[in-house]
């Protein structure tokens, strides 16, 4: 059983003079799916970027730990799988080459059976040798799931996971979320889609943290 925990202490983020959110105190544990909701501009993407260590908080702390051992920020990428609309894969490489390059940079061996399985799961098996610049927006979104899952991370963060996907694609994503949850992973979904939020065990509504200075 994976014992992954995120502790958020008094988190505050300000862009310029605009307060995004303040005073977030949470504890997130593996084996659960957490939703992050709120209207446009409420800071959903900012919140997941802060958790991922991609940006720094104005105040407060986000601490990651696995089996009680703290994960330093420099190593966080080893435990994290991330999907988001603003994540861009390399256009000049094929879908498969993108994944191979990423695995080599991570310093991990490539399990081609698992790669094939994931490409099959997201319905990209026939197109994995095509350059990404020839992919549709939906196919690029599917490729991001292979990118997020290929190193079998303990923490999965999906920002608007079903954007650009057709009904079949959405069903695949929900199936993947269910499977990963059963493996005991910690999953965070930031979305406004009701169907996406329905996959979550509990929801963090960011509007509750948008208090005045």
């Amino acid at each position: 059983m994976i014992d992954y925990k995120i502790e958020i202490e008094n988190l505050r983020k300000v862009f310029g003079r605009r307060l995004i959110f303040d005073g977030i105190e949470l504890e997130l544990n593996s084996g659960s799916v957490y939703g992050v909701s709120g209207p446009n501009g409420s800071g959903k993407s900012t919140f997941v970027k802060l958790i991922s260590g991609l940006i720094s908080p104005t105040k407060g702390k986000v601490m990651h730990s696995i089996a009680g051992k703290e994960i330093i920020e420099e190593k966080l990428h080893n435990y994290l799988g991330f999907v988001s609309p603003y994540l861009v894969m390399y256009d000049e490489f094929s879908g498969l080459e993108n994944i191979e390059q990423v695995m080599k940079i991570r310093g991990l061996n490539i399990d081609y059976d698992y790669v094939t399985y994931l490409f099959d799961e997201v319905n990209l098996k026939e197109r994995k040798f095509d350059l990404v610049k020839g992919y549709s927006s939906g196919m690029k979104q599917r490729l991001k799931f292979v990118f997020a899952l290929i190193h079998n991370p303990e923490l999965l963060i999906f920002d608007e996971p079903t954007s650009n996907l057709d009904i079949e694609g959405k069903e695949k994503v929900y199936k993947l979320i269910k499977e990963e949850k059963e493996k005991g992973k910690l999953i965070i979904i930031a979305s406004n889609e009701i169907e996406d939020i329905k996959q979550c065990d509990s929801t963090i509504d960011l509007i509750n943290y948008k208090k005045a200075n």
Binding site: S52, V88, M89, Y90, F93, I105, R106, F147
Partner: protein, 219 residues
């Protein structure tokens, strides 16, 4: 190994997109052609040719070496990198890529100078090669960290030479002095102080860049 994998990714990407190589090659050809046309049939001194060599190298570096980070930022792949590697891996990988580009670029420029400028005559080759080697490392390190700083700015094209000039000036001045020594046929012992300055510059810039990169890379 991870840094080498990142370097390989950048190199394969460069071979497919020709993002930096084409810009560098065109810049080198145009600059040297302009110098040749402006000189015409006049004779120029060896010192002036040595100076021109480093002027061409400086401006060529300005035209192509920022691409290591700027291309990632422009294509929106910066976050992809952040999600797969630590800042130290990214800096080391990008530095290796820039080192290769600097050496390729400067070897090409030097060969063209030897072929096209009669007055470019080096008496002490070992001194010139020492200066060339450590000079290239200095240019690559400085260009890499400056590229990381400017990659998130809106006016990258202007900011890069402006920021580079004060940082690369001590390096270029030392290299000019060493090139003069090499052209005069002075010994390595005579140029010891300049070589020590050159190596110190590389060590200081390398250490400072490695330590600062973490702060530059995030946000």
């Amino acid at each position: 190994m991870k840094a080498i994998a990142l370097f390989n990714k950048d190199w394969q990407s460069e071979l497919r997109t020709r993002y930096a190589i084409n810009a560098l090659a065109m810049f080198i050809l145009v600059t040297i052609s302009v110098i040749l046309f402006s000189i015409g049939s006049e004779k120029i001194t060896p010192y002036l040719t040595g100076g021109l060599l480093w002027v061409v190298i400086f401006f060529s570096a300005m035209s192509g070496l920022s691409r290591a980070f700027v291309s990632e930022e422009e294509r929106g792949t910066t976050m992809t990198l952040q999600l797969v590697a630590s800042p130290s891996t990214i800096f080391s990988g990008k530095l290796t890529f820039n080192l290769l580009l600097v050496f390729l670029m400067n070897i090409a420029i030097t060969i063209l100078f030897i072929l096209l400028f009669e007055s470019f005559t080096v008496q002490n080759y070992s001194l010139f090669l020492i200066s060339f080697f450590f000079g290239n490392i200095g240019i690559a390190i400085s260009s890499t960290i400056i590229a990381a700083i400017i990659s998130k700015a809106s006016s990258k094209g202007t900011l890069y030479p402006v920021l580079s000039f004060p940082i690369l000036l001590p390096l270029i001045l030392t290299l000019l002095e060493l090139t003069k020594f090499a052209m005069d046929g002075d010994t390595v012992e005579k140029a010891f102080v300049e070589i020590a300055v050159l190596i110190s510059y590389d060590v200081i810039m390398g250490t400072a860049s490695y330590l600062l990169f973490d702060f530059i890379w995030k946000d």
